[in-house]
């Protein structure tokens, strides 16, 4: 029933996230036939400023999808919803007055946190599968095809590495008191550095080594052998550390 409560609390945010990710996926698929002729013209123009990826973007639809969705806008939106879905818990309940009711039930504070975090992991994982389902279907409407397996592989990599945002947001939810202020502070604390680092890594090659967005995107053709296992392990450890600290913080709180 704790899972049920966590789901009821977050389901409108989850549905909103699913709609937003669907809309963004469809948008970039529908933009493909508009952008490609413009890029072809640019490629033939010797004076035009051409990014390095442009030839591959024109010639390979799979690269186009990866570049605009899994390595860029869709990933940004997913991170935002990962934070939003992980937001909540006993401190927020304290702000709206329901914490006392929750804490009067025979449930440890760890169980409250774990149920909420597991639902957040599940919801963010499901959101990461949205493009894997939407893109292959939408691609048909623009005369392209996209392998569903590739979409799921990229989606799960994004969710696996991005789980660190869930862990950190869960920790901050147990540190910052208030109803909506903690969400604003959490977004500023997690999303802003993520976006800045992603933008920086596009211009400075060594910054890619510390750019989590780069790890979440993986290589554009993702194979079993090209999965960044070391980075995933590191991120999982960081997620577990965040959750451990969150559990400790949760036990120390007074209501």
């Amino acid at each position: 029933m704790l899972f049920y409560k966590a789901w009821v609390e977050s389901r409108s945010r989850f549905i909103f996230g699913a709609v937003a990710l669907t809309a963004l996926s469809v948008l970039f698929v529908r933009l493909h036939p508009i952008l490609i002729p413009q890029w072809q013209v640019a490629l033939q123009d010797p004076h035009a400023i051409k990014p390095q990826w442009l030839p591959l973007g024109v010639s390979d639809y799979r690269f186009y999808v990866w570049h605009f969705l899994f390595d860029f806008r869709l990933q940004n939106l997913w991170v935002l919803f990962a934070i939003v879905l992980s937001f909540g818990g006993l401190l927020r309940e304290d702000a709206n007055g329901t914490a006392v009711y929750s804490l009067s039930l025979p449930v440890t504070r760890n169980r409250w946190m774990i149920s909420r975090v597991l639902i957040a992991f599940l919801e963010t994982s499901l959101l990461s599968c949205v493009p894997a389902l939407v893109v292959p279907i939408a691609s048909v409407s623009v005369g392209q095809s996209y392998p569903i397996g590739q979409g799921f592989a990229h989606g799960l990599l994004m969710a696996g590495v991005g789980s660190v945002f869930v862990g950190l947001a869960a920790l901050l939810s147990l540190v910052l008191r208030g109803e909506y202020t903690p969400l604003v502070v959490t977004v500023a604390t997690l999303a802003v550095p993520y976006l800045v680092l992603q933008e920086w890594a596009r211009r400075v090659s060594w910054a890619r080594k510390i750019d989590i967005a780069h790890v979440m995107a993986g290589p554009w053709l993702l194979t079993w052998g090209s999965v960044p296992w070391l980075a995933i392990t590191g991120v999982c450890l960081l997620t577990m550390l965040s959750l451990g600290l969150a559990a400790r913080q949760g036990r120390r709180l007074e209501f």
Binding site: M1, V8, V100, Y101, S104, L105, P106, E254
Partner: protein, 296 residues
């Protein structure tokens, strides 16, 4: 008689401020014990410590023999104790039916019969969202969610706040029924009339300290106001006797609030050549006000 709640020098400090100070309470099994005190006296802090929401700064407390500051014990306590908080906030995104189903899942001894009876009596609409319920309806729902748990011990913080007189009466009857069925009730209230109606024991705290711990009958039997007219100058210390809680001197008239030992007080008045001595009973409200005033 078996004790269901016991605190031993229970203390809670917030920085320099001592909200609860060396509190020694005992609630006997099967009793309806009222917990009185002004706003800010430390009642809610005490109740929140008992339910594991706050940690005591010092001292210990046991409910049903389990330690309140042990995490595993605290879960067992909450399994067997029903708590209704003062503000009665519930999950407003759930419907009445959803919160019933949710709460019920934690209590294997949930009383379906009582749930249905109270749903009807309180006229709670199952499919309505909690955010759309009136304050009174929310209070009734919070009480139903506590009463149906099948608990042995009920801790109720201002259970009738926000209820109309009819609903208040229904709730008080339900509380008495629970006690008749063997449950123990520990409730705080600012409604002295309610306390007089249902309580059999009164605990009163002031500034975090216990100032009264007595069966209600004994309070009613022993607390007296003694008024004496004495034809000579009298000082407060003339009545410094066991049981004298407060002395008011107004010219030749001395008014005393006496918790016990009335005969000795009357003897002293006569020793001081009192022209007249009158003894009158006190209401619980007067006793509450005098007890609080005496410590201001």
């Amino acid at each position: 008689m078996e004790t269901i709640l016991e605190t031993d020098k229970l203390t809670k400090r917030f920085g320099q401020f001592e909200a609860v100070s060396n509190l020694n309470l005992r609630v006997r099994k099967g009793s309806i014990c009222a917990f009185l005190g002004q706003n800010g006296a430390g009642k809610s802090t005490t109740l929140r410590m008992l339910l594991g929401m706050m940690r005591p700064s010092e001292g210990a407390a046991y409910i049903l023999g389990l330690r309140i500051d042990d995490e595993a014990d605290s879960v067992h306590i909450r399994q067997r104790v029903a708590f209704v908080a003062e503000d009665k906030h519930l999950y407003d995104y759930m419907t009445v039916q959803q919160i019933l189903r949710f709460t019920k899942s934690f209590f294997p001894r949930w009383k379906d019969g009582l749930e249905n009876e109270l749903l009807q009596r309180f006229e709670l609409p199952l499919d309505r969202k909690i955010r759309k319920l009136s304050k009174g309806m929310r209070t009734k729902l919070a009480l139903l969610l506590a009463f149906a748990r099948g608990s042995e011990f009920f801790i109720l913080d201002e259970p009738t706040e926000g209820l109309d007189p009819v609903a208040t009466e229904m709730v008080l009857q339900a509380v008495v029924s629970l006690a008749v069925d063997g449950a123990t009730i520990f409730f705080s209230s600012h409604q002295i009339a309610e306390v007089e109606q249902i309580a059999d024991h009164v605990l009163m705290i002031h500034n975090g300290k216990l100032v009264l711990d007595s069966p209600l009958d004994r309070i009613k039997d022993e607390y007296r106001q003694v008024q004496a007219v004495i034809n000579r100058p009298v000082q407060e210390h003339d009545f410094k006797l066991d049981g004298v809680e407060r002395v008011y001197v107004d010219g030749s008239t001395v008014s005393l609030i006496v918790s016990h030992n009335v005969d000795a007080v009357m003897d002293r008045a006569h020793e001081l050549n009192a022209i007249s001595v009158e003894v009158a009973p006190l209401t619980l409200k007067e006793i509450f006000l005098e007890t609080v005033k005496a410590r201001l």
